[in-house]
C-alpha cells in the first residue's frame, strides 16, 4: 500500500523536499497531487531516512505545503509497443494526438543499461542520405551517432528532416523508423517538423516526442530517455532500423545545468555539472548494433553551438562521445548555399568502415580525399586573391580557385528535396575533379583515374 504524505518541508526551484517515514527508493517515481486535483510527476534525486528530495518534471508551480506526495515504488518506465509508430507523445510520454493511450507490450526502464562492448557489432552499412556532402565526404553508417553542430539561424532542422526523409540502406528495402525527440524547441519549429512528417507520410513510421519551449525544463531530462527506450524496443525487439533525431541537445544541457544549480552542486566548466560528460554519454551511447540482432539505432542529435563556439562544453563533450560531427557553416549559409555543411570541419569517424568496394564504390575513399585536398587548397587561395588579386595567380592556382567555387555551387548546394544517389554524388565529384590538371590528382591511384576520370572515360567509349 502506498502512503500519501502531506509533509512538504521545502520547495526550491524544481526541487521538493518531503519528510517521510517509509523507505523510498532512489530514482523512484513520485506523484504529487495539488489541492486543485491536478497531478505532477517527479523523480527521487536523494533519499535518506527522513527526507526525500524530489525533482518535479512539470515544474513546481502551484505546489503548496498541503499537496500530497505519493511514492509509486518503481523507477520511471516507458510503456512500449510495436503500434507506437505514427504516434505523437508529450515530453513525458502521454499521447498528444488525441489517440488512445498506448497499450504496452512491455514496460521498460528509461535509464537504459549500457550495451556490453563485447556484444556490439561493428557498424559498417552505408546509409544513403541523398546529401552529397554527407554521403560523399562524411559518410553515415548504421549504428553511428553523428550530431549536427549548428548555430542559431542556420537550417539544421531542414537538414535533419531531409536526412529523416531520404535515409536508406542500399540494396535493402528496409525503411528507417524515425524516433523524433524535441527538447525545448518552439511550437513553431515543432509544427514545421510535424507538417513535414505529415506531408511526406513519414509520420506513419515515426514516433514523436514533443517537449516544447514552454514545457517544463525538467521534463527535458526524461524526453530523450523515453525516446531512446522506445528506439531500443523498436530496434532490438521489433527488428527495425531506427533513426533517432534529438533536437536540441543544447536545451537539454541547459536543463541539466538548471537542476545542478538548484541542487547547489559544485559546477565544472561554465556552470555545467561535472557529470555532464557521463550524462551525455548515457544518451549518445544508446546507439549501435548488437551481434545477432537485426535492428539498429542510428542517432542524429542536433545541437546549436552557443555563439558558434565549437569549444563550448556542450559541443566539446559531445564531440568526444559521438563518432564525428556534421558542422553547419554560417559563411556558406550567408552565401545562400543549402545545405551549408562545412566539409572541412565535419568528420565521420566510421566512414572508413562503410565505404569502398562492397559498400559504396572502390574509388570513394580516394575521391573524397582528393576533393577535400582540392577544396582546401582552393579555399586557401581565396585569402591570397583578396590581397593580390586573381590576375597575379598562376594558371594552376586559378583552376583550384574555380574548383573550390564550383565545388560549393554544385557539390555542396542541392535542393531541399533533392535525393542524390551515391553514384550521382561520386560522378559529380569526378566531374568537378576534371576541372583540375590531372597531375594534381595525387591522392588517387592511377588505375582509378583511368577507370573513372571523365576524360579517360570519354576516350574509352
Amino acid at each position: 500500500m502506498q502512503k500519501e504524505y502531506r509533509t512538504i518541508r521545502e520547495i526550491a526551484g524544481p526541487l521538493v523536499f518531503v519528510e517521510k517515514t517509509e523507505p523510498v527508493g532512489y530514482s523512484e517515481l513520485v506523484k504529487i497531487t495539488l489541492p486543485d486535483g491536478s497531478t505532477k510527476r517527479g523523480q527521487v534525486l536523494d533519499t535518506s531516512h527522513d527526507i526525500v528530495v524530489v525533482q518535479v518534471f512539470e515544474g513546481t508551480g502551484g505546489i503548496d505545503r498541503r499537496s500530497s506526495v505519493k511514492f509509486l515504488g518503481e523507477t520511471i518506465k516507458m510503456p512500449v509497443s510495436g503500434d507506437m509508430l505514427g504516434r505523437i507523445l508529450s515530453g513525458s510520454g502521454d499521447p498528444l494526438d488525441g489517440g488512445p493511450p498506448i497499450i504496452p507490450e512491455d514496460r521498460l526502464d528509461i535509464i537504459g543499461a549500457a550495451i556490453n562492448p563485447y556484444s556490439r557489432d561493428n557498424p559498417q552499412e552505408f546509409i544513403q542520405t541523398g546529401i552529397s556532402t554527407i554521403d560523399g565526404m562524411n559518410t553515415l553508417v548504421r549504428g553511428q551517432k553523428l550530431p549536427i553542430f549548428s548555430g542559431s539561424g542556420l537550417p539544421h532542422n531542414d537538414i535533419a528532416l531531409q536526412i529523416a526523409r531520404q535515409a536508406k540502406v542500399l540494396g535493402s528495402g528496409d525503411e528507417f523508423a524515425v524516433v523524433f525527440a524535441a527538447m525545448g524547441i518552439t511550437s513553431e519549429e515543432a509544427q514545421y517538423f510535424m507538417k513535414d512528417f505529415e506531408r511526406t507520410g513519414a509520420l506513419k513510421r515515426a514516433v514523436v516526442f514533443l517537449n516544447l519551449a514552454d514545457d517544463p525544463a525538467i521534463e527535458r531530462l526524461i524526453t530523450p530517455r523515453l525516446a531512446l527506450t522506445t528506439a531500443e524496443y523498436l530496434a532490438f525487439t521489433q527488428d527495425m532500423h531506427v533513426l533517432v533525431i534529438l533536437t536540441d541537445i543544447t536545451n537539454y544541457c541547459e536543463a541539466l545545468r538548471q537542476i545542478g544549480a538548484a541542487r547547489e552542486e559544485v559546477p565544472a566548466r561554465r556552470g555545467y555539472p561535472g557529470y555532464m560528460y557521463t550524462d551525455l554519454a548515457n544518451i549518445y551511447e544508446r546507439a549501435g548494433r548488437i551481434q545477432g540482432k537485426k535492428g539498429s539505432i542510428t542517432q542524429v542529435p542536433i545541437l546549436s553551438m552557443p555563439g558558434d563556439d565549437i569549444t563550448h562544453p556542450i559541443p566539446d563533450l559531445t564531440g568526444y562521445i559521438t563518432e564525428g560531427q556534421i558542422v553547419a557553416s554560417r559563411e556558406l549559409h550567408r552565401a545562400g548555399i543549402y545545405p551549408p555543411i562545412a566539409v572541412g570541419r565535419s568528420l565521420s569517424r566510421l566512414m572508413g568502415q562503410g565505404i569502398g568496394e562492397g559498400h559504396t564504390r572502390e574509388d570513394h575513399r580516394a575521391l573524397s580525399d582528393q576533393l577535400y585536398a582540392g577544396y582546401a587548397e582552393g579555399r586557401d587561395l581565396r585569402g591570397l586573391v583578396a590581397i593580390v588579386g586573381k590576375e597575379s595567380l598562376s594558371e594552376r592556382d586559378r583552376k583550384f580557385l574555380d574548383f573550390a567555387d564550383s565545388f560549393e555551387d554544385r557539390f555542396v548546394r542541392q535542393e531541399r528535396n533533392e535525393d542524390r544517389s551515391i553514384e550521382e554524388t561520386l560522378e559529380l565529384g569526378w566531374d568537378l575533379l576534371s576541372m583540375l590538371p590531372e597531375d594534381a590528382l595525387t591522392k588517387i591511384d592511377r588505375k582509378l583515374i583511368e577507370k573513372y576520370h571523365p576524360t579517360h572515360k570519354k576516350r574509352g567509349s
Binding site: 523507505p23 523510498v24 527508493g25 532512489y26 530514482s27 523512484e28 534525486l45 536523494d46 533519499t47 535518506s48 531516512h49 518503481e74 523507477t75 526502464d109 535509464i111 537504459g112 543499461a113 549500457a114 550495451i115 556490453n116 562492448p117 563485447y118 556484444s119 556490439r120 557489432d121 561493428n122 549504428g143 532490438f236 552542486e265 559544485v266 565544472a268 566548466r269 555539472p273 561535472g274 557529470y275 560528460y277 557521463t278 554519454a281 548515457n282 551511447e285 546507439a287 549501435g288 548488437i290 551481434q291 565549437i310 569549444t311 566539446d316 563533450l317 568526444y320 562521445i321 559521438t322 563518432e323 564525428g324 568528420l347 569517424r349 566510421l350 568502415q353 580525399d369 577535400y372 582546401a376
Partner: protein, 577 residues
C-alpha cells in the same frame, strides 16, 4: 569469513551513505539485495560514504549492506591473458552470457576462470625456503610462461609442492606453517605491488617505428603521453605499439571511450597476429573496456585494475606496455565523484588531488629489480583528450609535468597523409640522454650525433619554410634549398612509415641507423658538390636518391642500403666530387 552488516541511510546517485558498519577506507561493500559492488571512500562520524560501481536506481534507505572487510582487489593468476574485462575485472564475454547484450546490475562474475586447469611445473622443491615474490614454478599461458609467485607478505619453508594440472584455486604448494598456496592470489588495486629496487630506465622500448625509436625513444619503464581523440591515428599507433614493441605483455585500458570504437578494438585485436611468434596477439594482451556510459566509478577503477595486472606480470620479470585511453576520461570520473562528495574543487572543477593521483599512477610504472631479483618493467602510454583542443587544461598540463615523452599526433599531418602523424617539431623525449649509452653499445657509436643531425635539419627546414611561404623557394640560395631537399628526404623516406606494408611496418634499429646514415651521406656529398659549383638540379636528379627512397619497401633492404650508398659515391664521383 563473516561479513559485517550495516544499513543504507542515504542514496544520492552513485554515492551511498551507510550506518552500522565500521570498515576501513577503500574496503569493498556489497549493497542491497542485488549485492551491488561499492567502495568506501569517506568516513564521517559513524557514517560510511560508499561509491557504487553500478546504477543505484531503486535502492532504499534501510536496505542491508555488507562489509567485505577487504579493499577492491584484482584476481591475479593464469588466465589473465587474452581476457576482456570491464573496469572492475569482470570478464565481458561472461557478463554477456550471464545477462545478455546489456550490462545490468548485480552480476558477480569472477575475473579468472575457476574451471580451467593449467599445467604447473614446480621450480622449487620440498624444504626450500621461499619468501614473497619468489618463483614457485611455471605454467604455460598464451604466448608466455606464467611464473607462479609467492604472494606478497608470504614466506616460509615448503613442506610439499606438486606438479600436474590444477585449477587456479587448487593448492599447489604447502608451507610448513600450513599456508596453502594456490596459483591465484588477490591484490588490492590501489596499492602498488612491492619490488626490491627501482632502476633508471636506460634500455629503450624498441618499437620498430622509425620516428619513435630514432627521434623520440621511450625507455622500458618510461612514460609517454599522446594527445588523442581527434582522429589523428591514435588507434593505428597503439596497434603498431601492441604489435611490434618488444614488451612481452600488452595491457590496453579503454577508459570511458566510445562503445563503437571499443568494438573496433575488441574485434580487430583478436584477429591480429604477434608478428614475432606468429601466435594470436591476444595471447599476450589483456583488454579492459569501460565505455563512457558504463558506471563512472568503475571507470575510475579501470586504470588501477590495469596497472595492477601490469605489475603482476612485471613481478614475473616481464616487460609490460600499458596503454591507457584516455586518462582525461579517467580524470573526469574523479571529478564527477569528487563533486558528488561535495569536495572543494580545484581548477576547472577537477579535485585538488588530481595532480597527485596522476603522478601516483605514473609512478607505478618503471623498470625494477623484482623481489626474486629478476628485471621487469612497465612502460605506460597515456592518451590525453584535451577539451576544446586546449593543451593548457589541467589534465594535459599535469600529465605533461610527469611523463618524459610526448608524441604529438597531429591532424594536419594526417590530412596530408603523413603517417605516423607524429609531429617532429613538437614531440619530445627526455630519455635520449639515458638511452644514448645503450644505443652506442648496441647500435652504433655514432647514434646520438646522427639523431642530432636529423633534428637540426628538420628544425632548419621549419625556419626556412616560413621564408619560402613569403618569397617562394626559388629565392633561396642553393645551400638552403639543399637543406629543404634533405629535410624532405628525412620526412618522406625516413619518418613516413607504412603500417600496412609488410617490410616497412617494422624497422630494426640497425636498419634505422643505416637508412638515416645513408641520407646523411647523401647530404654530405651534396654539400661538397655544391661547393664545387655543381648545380642543385644535377644533384637531386641522381638516380641513387630516388632509389634510396624506394629502398624501404624492398625485401633486401639490409643489403640494399650499402649497395645504394656505394652507387651514390660513384654517381657523385662522376659529377666531379
Amino acid at each position: 569469513m563473516e561479513m559485517k552488516k550495516g544499513q543504507i541511510s542515504r542514496i544520492s546517485g552513485p554515492v551511498v551513505v551507510a550506518e552500522g558498519i565500521s570498515p576501513r577506507m577503500n574496503d569493498v561493500v556489497l549493497i542491497g539485495k542485488e549485492r551491488l559492488v561499492g567502495e568506501v571512500i569517506k568516513l564521517v562520524g559513524d557514517k560510511t560514504i560508499v561509491q557504487v560501481y553500478e546504477d543505484t536506481s531503486g535502492l532504499k534507505p534501510g536496505e542491508e549492506l555488507l562489509d567485505t572487510g577487504a579493499p577492491l582487489q584484482a584476481e591475479l593468476g593464469p588466465g589473465l591473458l587474452s581476457s576482456i574485462y570491464d573496469g572492475v575485472q569482470r570478464p565481458l564475454p561472461k557478463l554477456s552470457e550471464a545477462m545478455g547484450d546489456f550490462i545490468t546490475r548485480g552480476a558477480s562474475v569472477p575475473g579468472l576462470d575457476r574451471e580451467r586447469t593449467w599445467k604447473f611445473t614446480p621450480e622449487k622443491k620440498k624444504g626450500d625456503k621461499v619468501s614473497q615474490g619468489d618463483i614457485l614454478g611455471e605454467a604455460p599461458e598464451g604466448n608466455i610462461t606464467h611464473r607462479i609467485l609467492v604472494p606478497p607478505g608470504v614466506s616460509g619453508t615448503i613442506s610439499s609442492i606438486s606438479e600436474g594440472e590444477f585449477t587456479i584455486e587448487e593448492t599447489i604448494c604447502v608451507l610448513e606453517d600450513g599456508t596453502k598456496l594456490p596459483m591465484m592470489h588477490k591484490w588490492p588495486v590501489r596499492v602498488p605491488r612491492p619490488f626490491s629496487e627501482k632502476l633508471l630506465p636506460d634500455i629503450p622500448l624498441i618499437t620498430g617505428q622509425r620516428i619513435l625509436d630514432s627521434l623520440f625513444p621511450l625507455a622500458k619503464g618510461g612514460t609517454a603521453a599522446i594527445p588523442g581523440g581527434f582522429g589523428t591515428g591514435k588507434t593505428v599507433t597503439s596497434q603498431q605499439l601492441s604489435k611490434w614493441s618488444d614488451a612481452q605483455i600488452v595491457i590496453y585500458v579503454g577508459c570511458g571511450e566510445r562503445g563503437n570504437e571499443m568494438t573496433e578494438v575488441l574485434t580487430t585485436f583478436p584477429k591480429l597476429e604477434d608478428p614475432k611468434s606468429g601466435q594470436p596477439l591476444m595471447g599476450r594482451t589483456v583488454l579492459i573496456a569501460n565505455t563512457s556510459n558504463m558506471p563512472v566509478a568503475a571507470r575510475e577503477a579501470s586504470v588501477y585494475t590495469g596497472i595492477t595486472i601490469a605489475e603482476y606480470y612485471r613481478d614475473m620479470g616481464y616487460d609490460v606496455a600499458l596503454m591507457a585511453d584516455s586518462t582525461s576520461r579517467w580524470a573526469e570520473a574523479m571529478r564527477e565523484i569528487s563533486s558528488r562528495l561535495e569536495e572543494m574543487p580545484g581548477e576547472e572543477g577537477y579535485p585538488a588531488y588530481l595532480a597527485s593521483k596522476l603522478s601516483e599512477f605514473y609512478e607505478r610504472c618503471g623498470r625494477v629489480k623484482t623481489m626474486s631479483d629478476a628485471y621487469g618493467s612497465i612502460s605506460a602510454i597515456g592518451a590525453v583528450s584535451p577539451s576544446g583542443g586546449d593543451f593548457s587544461e589541467p589534465v594535459t598540463q599535469n600529465t605533461l609535468r610527469i611523463v618524459k615523452v610526448f608524441w604529438a599526433l597531429d591532424s594536419k599531418l594526417r590530412e596530408r597523409r603523413h603517417f605516423p602523424a607524429i609531429n617532429w617539431l613538437t614531440s619530445y623525449s627526455l630519455y635520449t640522454g639515458h638511452l644514448d649509452d645503450w644505443y652506442r653499445k648496441n647500435v652504433s657509436e655514432d647514434w646520438s650525433r646522427l639523431r642530432q643531425w636529423a633534428m637540426e635539419v628538420l628544425q632548419k627546414e621549419s625556419e626556412l619554410q616560413e621564408i619560402v611561404q613569403l618569397v617562394g623557394s626559388d629565392a633561396l640560395p642553393q645551400e638552403q634549398r639543399l637543406t629543404l631537399e634533405i629535410a624532405r628526404m628525412i620526412r618522406e623516406f625516413f619518418l613516413q612509415q607504412s603500417a600496412y606494408h609488410p617490410v616497412d611496418t617494422y624497422s630494426p634499429l640497425k636498419r634505422q641507423f643505416a637508412y638515416l646514415d645513408a641520407i646523411r651521406t647523401f647530404a654530405n656529398l651534396a654539400q661538397k658538390a655544391l661547393s664545387l659549383d655543381i648545380s642543385l638540379e644535377d644533384i637531386t636528379e641522381l638516380p641513387s636518391k630516388a632509389e634510396l627512397g624506394k629502398m624501404k619497401f624492398e625485401d633486401d633492404i639490409d643489403t640494399g642500403i650499402p649497395a645504394v650508398v656505394e652507387k651514390m659515391h660513384k654517381q657523385f664521383e662522376k659529377l666531379g666530387v
